[in-house]
Symmetry: C2
Subunit: 88 residues, 2 copies
Amino acid sequence: MEWTDVLGIVAGICTTASVIPQIRKAWKTKEVDDVSPGMFATLMLGVGLWVIYGITQDDLPIIVTNGASLALNSFMLYLMLRYRKKKK
Amino acid sequence: MEWTDVLGIVAGICTTASVIPQIRKAWKTKEVDDVSPGMFATLMLGVGLWVIYGITQDDLPIIVTNGASLALNSFMLYLMLRYRKKKK
């Protein structure tokens, strides 16, 4: 493994793990009103396409990190649907 | 330009643009209490590292999209600092 692979994996861990504090917050407070559903929908489409791009480039860091990101963002979207309030 | 470059750019536009609905929402409602600052801090560190990774790989889609992402997320972090309320 090249050091650039390690760099890509660390970068990927950060961008992938970034949603974890948001999941924790939503889980704890059960409040998601200020979080944008459009953000997570667009993000999931994007990371899905990144996985395909990674496959075409045979680029393991891109595939693994965006695959994990897709899973975590799906869970966040589930929490948003579960905790959202009706429009005022 | 290869079709895989186009795929990478479309993927990057989605992940980069994903924060725009969140910026719009925060701008309109001036409410950011449910949004995690930890998410945006970790995300900015991550996309910064992705830019460096892209440079080492000479991968234009990664450099351009994560560079734009860094700028947009910085703006969102500014909005969060501006609109956050004191802890209850």
